[in-house]
């Protein structure tokens, strides 16, 4: 990147630096490779060899098994549904709330903003939130995985700042042409916000896909478990006594089976990874700009 006069010591450092970082890259990557390899291996091989990157005999038995159980297929369905629906709801609520808050002259704007920021430093906590969800009759409903976490206040503030920085001339000329605020929002602001929408679609989607804890709290009916919770139960049941469990698989899950579930729960993230990497870095830098 910049011109350097490399000293012998600098060269030694360079060699060390490259080797160390390459090892670091491998150390983050290899566990995934092992899990993928294990998911295609036979039980006896997993038991015999503690570590391998390519199985001796490749079998899809674990996948055949999980894809033949309704429990597993249903949990994938639940995860996909919650992720898609949740992301839509979250985006819609975040955008519609951020836009009015970006208008400096709106009456009551500062009060609402302060109340939003306050929720970032103080909250009622797990039990009172649970009580609210319960009293709304949302227990054991998939809406309980979406509505209580629908707006992330951090994202709301970032989107608000983005709207604030849009050129106001566009909105004003649209108004002169007879557009209402509603029309300006849908026809001018939203089309101008595509990059931000893309970023936060991914932020929310990753959150919904990865979430297991809200399901643990609010969903006791195992037919409505998302795949992350199913995986958590599979892992914990086999390894630990972890309170009361209702396993729906007749025989305790085998090693390759668990690894196959890990792989399936990871695959969507890996598919979207190139977009994630790009947009998340953008998001983190957006977030560091104060609004």
């Amino acid at each position: 990147m910049h011109k350097m006069h490399n000293t012998p010591l600098g060269r030694v450092f360079d060699v060390f630096n490259h080797i160390f970082l390459a090892l670091l890259g491998l150390a983050t990557f290899i566990p995934f490779v092992y899990v993928i390899a294990g998911s295609f291996a036979t039980e006896s091989e997993i038991a015999a060899r503690p570590f391998f990157l390519i199985p001796e005999t490749i079998t899809t038995a674990a996948y055949d098994y999980i894809f033949s159980t309704t429990t597993f297929i249903r949990s994938i369905g639940v995860s996909v549904l919650v992720t898609v629906l949740g992301t839509l709801v979250s985006l819609l609520l975040t955008m519609t709330m951020a836009y009015p808050l970006s208008r400096k002259k709106l009456l009551g704007r500062n009060l609402i903003l302060n109340l939003v920021v306050f929720t970032m430093v103080f909250n009622g906590g797990m039990i009172p939130t649970y009580m609210v969800v319960k009293s709304l009759g949302l227990l054991d409903s998939l809406w309980a995985l979406i509505l209580p976490v629908a707006i992330n206040p951090f994202y709301l503030i970032i989107v608000k700042s983005f709207f604030q920085n849009l050129p106001s001339e566009l909105e004003e000329s649209a108004k002169i042409d007879g557009c209402s605020d509603m029309g300006v929002f849908w026809r001018i602001v939203i089309p101008l916000s595509k990059p931000v929408i893309a970023t936060f679609t991914l932020f929310y989607a990753v959150f919904y896909w990865n979430d297991f804890f809200n399901a643990l709290l609010y969903i006791s009916d195992s037919a409505k478990w998302p795949v992350q919770l199913l995986l958590q139960q599979l892992m914990m049941v086999a390894n630990m006594d972890f309170g009361e469990m209702d396993t729906m698989l007749a025989d305790p899950p085998e090693e390759s089976l668990k690894m196959a579930v890990v792989v399936v729960a990871t695959v969507p993230i890996l598919i979207f990874y190139p977009f994630l990497q790009k947009h998340f870095a953008k998001g983190i830098l957006l977030g560091s700009v104060k609004g």
Partner: protein
Amino acid sequence: MSLLSMKSRKVKTNGPLDTNQLTKTQQLLKDKWLYVLLLPGIVYFVLFKYMPMWGVLMAFQDYSPFKGFWQSDWVGFDHFQYFFQNPDFFRLLRNTLILALYDLIFFFPAPIIIALMLNELRMQFFKRTIQTLVYVPHFMSWVIIASITYVFLTTSGGAVNAVVEYFTGEKINFLSSPDWFRPMIIGQVIWKETGWGTVIFLAALASVSPEQYEAAIMDGAGRFRRMWHVTLPALRSTIVILLILRLGNFLDQGFQQIFLMTNSLNRSVADVFDTYVYFVGITQGAFSYSTAVGLFKAIVGIILIYGADYLAKKLKQPGLF
């Protein structure tokens, strides 16, 4: 067109149409569509953020699901008193603080060091490949990370224990050993978040102008002196801000992570405030008591955040708010 509208905006702010001169009702009517857009969001915050805040009053009750919120008896600070006299309190405080301290010592510097090392790479392809690899775990759920940890650390055929057994002749039960709990938690955090943590530092480094390096070279600064005198100072304000932020949520150890790695054998070191609230409140049904514990933690948390903000402003850094 844009010139015209800019002019008209000027007229608006100074002229007779100034919004300050409209009555409040006129303003509300003028912005009616904006309030319509705002409404769903407000309903969300009222229902799921402010109702629970009001619900913390349960901490001062002896809440009974049969009597409901309105009929339950008020007990004042009984639950708090019980909590502070309970040996659990010191155990939770100790566990939380030790984990936070370990996190600060072992995890916090890691992304800074790796960012500095990445910054010294000159082959862009190699640099990008490494970045692409080390960012991956950040996007995985804690369930995935915990599952992979189980697979590697288990005593029945785990790769790590195979190595340990080869060298020492016996296996270590990492997953249920109280001694290994903290190193395991910090190790997971380092593995999952170090790579991603470099993003913000690399961004700060990208803004250092090449002239600064050239000037340093002209002054005869070698590679390491440039790193010390140009690169590291460029990171200083980012490091200070992140440190302050960390102090602001010192008590917030990753709840999901700790919950997933907790079991009956390592509870003595694993329990922190948040997981305790879950186990006592949700699993054992002590709603009022666990709400009191949660409220205590939230209040200490708010003091820490405002303290951190005060500190930031004292140090002439942009505050948190």
